[in-house]
Point group: C2
Chain length 339, copies 2
Amino acid sequence: MRKPRVKALDVARAADVSTATVSLVMNGKAEKRVPLETRQRVLKVAADLGYTVDLRARGLATGTSRLIGFLVPNSVGNPFFGALHMELLRELGSSYQVLTVATDVGEEVARRNIEQLLAMGIDALVAMSVDSAYLRPIQSDIPMILIDTDRFGPGVAALNFAVEKGARDLAEHLVELGHRRIIYVEATTRSRTFPARRNALFTALEEAGVAPPAVIETDIDMLDAERVAQPLLRKWSNDGVTAIICATDLQAYGVLTAMKSENISVPHEMSIAGFDDLPFSRVVEPQLTSVRLPGDALARGAVAELRGLLDRKSARIASIVIDVELQRRGSTARARSTP
Amino acid sequence: MRKPRVKALDVARAADVSTATVSLVMNGKAEKRVPLETRQRVLKVAADLGYTVDLRARGLATGTSRLIGFLVPNSVGNPFFGALHMELLRELGSSYQVLTVATDVGEEVARRNIEQLLAMGIDALVAMSVDSAYLRPIQSDIPMILIDTDRFGPGVAALNFAVEKGARDLAEHLVELGHRRIIYVEATTRSRTFPARRNALFTALEEAGVAPPAVIETDIDMLDAERVAQPLLRKWSNDGVTAIICATDLQAYGVLTAMKSENISVPHEMSIAGFDDLPFSRVVEPQLTSVRLPGDALARGAVAELRGLLDRKSARIASIVIDVELQRRGSTARARSTP
DNA sequence: TTGTAGGCGTTATCAA
DNA sequence: TTGATAACGCCTACAA
């Protein structure tokens, strides 16, 4: 029972011109071709009738869609997703629309979702934390912006935080403070950044002669981290563990909460540190030492890259690494002496 | 230089059938019409050629788009946006896609953005914290789900938190604790919920014989709230203010941080409370008294409503209010005696 | 059981 | 300067 949209033909009839003229006028391509008087008449009639161009039909006819596909993993807790999404929406504004698809990781689903995006005729694809294995086989040469994903091929831009550097800095920081027994709280989420964080950290520790940390895994979620860590903390402390490193700040907040309820004093009995440096890291007590990943820089970079690929359609070689910086705060201090 | 997509005609030729058959098979409508052997041949050829249906063309032909428009204000800091977005994406899965548009508030932009959405042929519209003045004139009878927006007309569902009740509970809580001089930290964001929170709160206070709080305004952002509140806190305390109520928890965290740097002890010198009850409210010290707004319930409700309107196209009368609950915690206590 | 052909709303190419 | 008309790729009566 849907009201029939008013279409170009309706306007054409009412204005006593052809649809071709309507099209010209509506697209501002009538400057030197249609006399002012006619143009104004068409515009007036269009406004009166409430005519707007059907974007699907236009897309079909022009082969372009003014649509950007935005592919994100179906996992909560990525603190940069929001910032990037907003930046995309804000920056592209009314020139492009953003079609977001959250995909489950997994051969089947990921492939289907990507195909749907392509079938909508997207002009470019922005993908975040999606395994490049799913992206690589794409049979389309639209521009792609990859975030937290390995770059491949031309026409593809990749942006990543320099988490390896951050991890090394963090390792050195803790080693300097005398920490030798460390626990690593890994994230269950599968995305490029977490192995990168961990490997760089472990390598740096190893080079400093520190044994690789024991690893536990939790969701990127305060409550889950709290739940998982709580029953282990006392034992760790007794075993001489003096520091906990979390893959994300969110997990660190959870562990911190657990430490309080276990009466483990931070940083005296144990130090704790994280990655991301969310705003809350300056609010929790003690303030959290964390590797700052500047999300706004990432978002701006991604959008700039997208714009570049969209405008000049040339393939650019772009693999952008965004610098990070360790924020040393009260949650890390000299290790207590242990047996 | 875009590769030409393979289309139904290509498949038809390669499989030695007509495009009609291809269409039937690809849409699973060939069960009883096309013999198994032919069906399998078509599917195989389609797979080999990498054929996928062009969604724009299908949309044009069928008058449907399998696209849900998602309209949100261009302001950061809405803690429920993410949850709702994810719930939409997850729940609708591959049956619908979500087209998100962040709109600036303001006649012009809002109208254009909405028109773009409609011009894409969306099958339904989900709008969050958008002024109903922009929605009301929409010349389309697609289903609409309104969140934090006034309901109007049939075919429209509205979901709101019972913030008024929460505000009353909070007011009573503070009055019982003896607070008489209160500051209200309002949010700059224009959306239905904030006047609702404030009005209900002020009304309840007034009924209890408490003078209306003085009001300051900040962005929904920790740092901004901290920055704005900091220089005022000492004076407030001297003036006998014993409690601060914030429109959102995020602002409360900022104010709390400022209180610490001003050496104002919470809750002894001043109490503080917020709305939302984000997870962090149990992490900050002292834990924050807050009106819990269950975002997941909102999201699930919205999606359920959407499903309902999408399936049976009948207009439903739906104005759903989601219950809220005051969480009393350590940040509020009996008011100190003041001159 | 399968194919033909008209239509969805635009744009773009030619003629006029 | 304007108007027919053929794409664009698909779906779906209606025929065969």
